[in-house]
């Protein structure tokens, strides 16, 4: 009689063991990945043309230790993406994982920090109480939490203002305390939505330094912003979203590099020279004050035109390989998508 229950228990163990093996195998396959999404979509409604409004088929991967940027104009789906990754909303289709766990699982939230855009907190708490509250949500307490709070308040420059209540905070102070609460658990992955919003230039610079330090410590940072100049020196990889769809993705250095594009900047350009360049179908941009920029596919063509221009009396201001800015990449991507 006792054989049957033993067999059942054994079978259960085998099934559980097999399940654990599959889970471990799955984790191993995704090791090194902080985030992975597959055709993740969140459709709120459809517009007059029947086009879905929301986020459409977002697939991307973020490796551990990267600073990843999610760029896009207002309403492009950045915040929706963040909310999906944090399990605040549910996808209409597609899947996603954070540290190998499905979206919304509490398991990965232990390792994650989040600073929302324009953060709101309980107004009646002061800086220390606020961080104590958030630390408590991670089960932290006692001297461990107290020393972490002190460390973070120094880090974000709020130690001297630690007893001020949140209701009396400026926008910049809210942003600083928001950054501190997002790091209370010493997260491996930080989601930062418009981090430098409301900060003065020095505050913004401090935050940039903070992100770079986090990257040096091996943390993964997921930045959402439309402030492209801020993102360019920080991000390793970016995704540009427009109207809920990915319109550009890649490593920042690759996106900024343009193969074989040279730029010649001239001043004192005569009408005759302009006509000659246009006749030769050379791409030009004419600015005020007789300044002209010409673009070339190869270096020798640029040198030929420079010699021709000098002979025609124009002044050569600059000649060299053209480096795009992230802003140009963004405008090209968003403009191209439209």
């Amino acid at each position: 009689m006792c054989v049957i229950p033993v067999r059942i228990v054994t079978l259960r163990h085998v099934i559980r063991w097999a399940g654990d093996c599959v889970e471990a195998q799955r984790r191993c396959c995704t090791i090194g990945l902080a985030i992975k999404t597959e055709k993740l979509a969140k459709v709120y409604s459809h517009d007059a043309t029947g086009r879905p409004v929301g986020l459409i088929d977002l697939s991307f991967e973020v490796e551990e230790g990267q600073v990843f940027g999610l760029l896009g104009p207002n309403g492009s789906g950045k915040t929706t993406t963040l909310k999906l990754l944090l399990g605040l909303i549910m996808p209409t289709s597609g899947t996603g994982e954070v540290f190998g766990y499905p979206l919304g699982s509490n398991a990965y939230k232990e390792r994650v920090g989040f600073l929302p855009e324009g953060p709101y907190f309980y107004e009646h708490l002061n800086g220390i109480e606020l961080l104590r509250f958030y630390g408590g949500l991670f089960g932290m307490g006692g001297s461990q939490l107290s020393s972490r709070i002190e460390e973070l308040l120094h880090l974000v420059g709020m130690w001297d203002r630690r007893f001020i209540r949140v209701r009396d905070y400026s926008r910049g102070m809210r942003q600083r305390i928001g950054a501190a609460q997002s790091m209370i658990n010493d997260p491996d992955l930080l989601f930062l939505d418009e981090l430098t919003s409301g900060l003065d230039p020095i505050g913004a610079m401090e935050m940039h330094r903070l992100i770079l330090n986090l990257r040096d410590e091996g943390k993964t940072v997921f930045l959402c912003s439309h402030l492209l100049k801020d993102m360019e020196p920080l991000c390793d990889r970016v995704i540009i979203l427009n109207q809920g769809e990915v319109c550009e993705t890649g490593r920042v250095d690759e996106l900024l590099r343009i193969q074989d594009e040279y730029r010649l900047l001239l001043s004192n350009v005569s009408e005759e020279l302009i006509q000659q360049l246009q006749a030769a179908e050379i791409a030009t941009e004419i600015a005020e004050g007789g300044r002209l920029t010409a673009f070339f596919g190869d270096q020798s063509a640029a040198l030929d035109v420079a010699q021709q221009a000098a002979a025609a009396g124009a002044t050569i201001e600059d000649l060299g390989a053209h480096q795009r800015t992230l802003e140009e990449v963004f405008i090209d991507a968003v403009g191209g998508n439209e």
Binding site: L86, L88, M90, N106, F114, P119, H124, L125, Y134, G139
Partner: protein, 270 residues
Amino acid sequence: MRPVLRVARATFHEAWRRRFLNGILVFAILIIGSSWVFAYLQPGAELKMMVDTGLGAIRFFGMLIAVFLGTRLVPDEIERRTIHTILAKPVSRAQFLFGKFIGGAATVLFNMLLMGVAFYIVFALKAPAFQAAKPEDALILQSMYSNIAKAVVLSFFEAFLVLGIAVVAATIFTWIMSVIFTFFIYFVGQMSDFFQQLSDPDRGASKFAQIVLGAAYKILPHFEIFDIREAILSGTYTPWSMLFKAMGQGVAYLIVVLLIGYLVFNEREV
């Protein structure tokens, strides 16, 4: 459990900064404090009138606080987006909802305790004088001291149930709809015995009435079980077993309500 207590504590501290709640409490204590004045409206039954007014005010204002606080607890977090930073931490929605309820219940309890203490003081000061004018009430007065405490305890449980319904209604409906819904359930729940009588086939109830009113009796919370004022006024002894039965029913109903709330809130987007 720690996240639940953290959320509850923050909710409790924040609730005390809600002006409407402070306003209700001040008004309630004014009414309760002057309950002895209302007693003179019924000459010859001043003691009963005072008890009726005082306990009635505690129940009514406790219910009012529960409705207006309960229907704001979760929606305020969503509107002010404070919920985002909380649910992004390892806090499940069940823990969050339960924490909000516990914090709200602590607020309601503390408010009603203040009302209860205020009434006890008024009662202790004025009741002997009223009883002296009517010696036959001596026995009733003796039993009243403990019975008033029992009535106040039952009022707590009633208010907790109302709070639970309000919290859950607010996760489903808009604010105004959830207020209306909670008041509706409260007032209809006061009449659940009446539904049972109307659905009784021996009293000529149709098959349809038996099904509809019988279902209403079974589904609705029975708020009248929390009201023992009549027993107190008549000097009838209220056994503890009856109290525990009422509390048990209230807690069981509350668990079901919060479970429904969790199921709804778990699917809700914030």
